[in-house]
Symmetry: C2
Subunit: 128 residues, 2 copies
DNA sequence: ATAGGTGCAAACAGTTTGCATGTAT
DNA sequence: ATACATGCAAACTGTTTGCACCTAT
């Protein structure tokens, strides 16, 4: 991750253009708008390198490929829309979750994920 | 899921013998103790059928194959040990999570997952 | 000039599926 | 007897890797 290339710029731009976690496919599609020759291997390699460097954070959902979001945001969790399969950021955190760990278990991280239908899909369904 | 076969009995027995979510590999290994010829395809087919029937509930963790647990337990969440990669049940739920959903988003389900080191692995690490 | 990056294609792991055989009903 | 279930092997999907070419430094 030492050189600045056009494909990496395009991948970074994809994340800069949105505030929700993106899948490799979403990144590939968005970045190809600027670099049409971009291949999936480069996207995977770049996402993995950025995640290893701590620049991106992986966010996962059941049965779905991992999403990635830029690191450094304040603590938050996620919402996953069952219809459009897009991931969204949530604002708050219930807190005090570590105390749910059984005795002898060391808790160093927690995730809270909400599932349902996002505003866009809810509106589209209601309009039908 | 109409007939009772020895392989299905072995798969059910694997779940009866433990109180934590099991991966297809764990189910296969456990059930092979009783039915050595059991193949992975049968395990996957059975798990999918039982999940579709509502008898089993899939439980997933980032970068991990799905685990399954028997349905009908009271509401709970899970702990995932980073070392042994086993899943465990937790007792409580912080509640009031739906209110974290943004306006216009319909929340119909939530997951809380804790990550860390389980008691077994913590004891093993301390003993080294 | 040269180390690092890219793109293609092949390799891979986990899961699903087609088909012939086996078995509970 | 027959429809359903099993096991093998092939197919599939998403991701990783080998290798030759390219490019930022």
């Amino acid at each position: 991750m030492e050189r600045s290339t056009t494909q990496r710029a395009a991948i970074r731009a994809a994340f800069a253009a949105t505030d929700r976690p993106l899948s490799p496919q979403e990144v590939l599609a968005a970045a190809r708008a600027q670099v049409p020759t971009l291949g999936p291997a480069t996207v995977y390699r770049t996402l993995n390198a950025l995640a290893a460097a701590g620049t991106l954070i992986p966010v996962t959902f059941p049965g779905e490929p991992a999403r990635y979001e830029v690191a450094g945001k304040k603590h938050h969790h996620h919402f996953f829309c069952r219809l459009c399969r897009r991931a969204f950021e949530l604002a708050g955190c219930p807190g005090r979750l570590s105390r749910l760990g059984p005795p002898g278990f060391r808790v160093d991280h927690h995730e809270v994920t909400l599932y349902g239908v996002c505003a866009d899909c809810g509106a589209a369904a209601g309009a039908e």
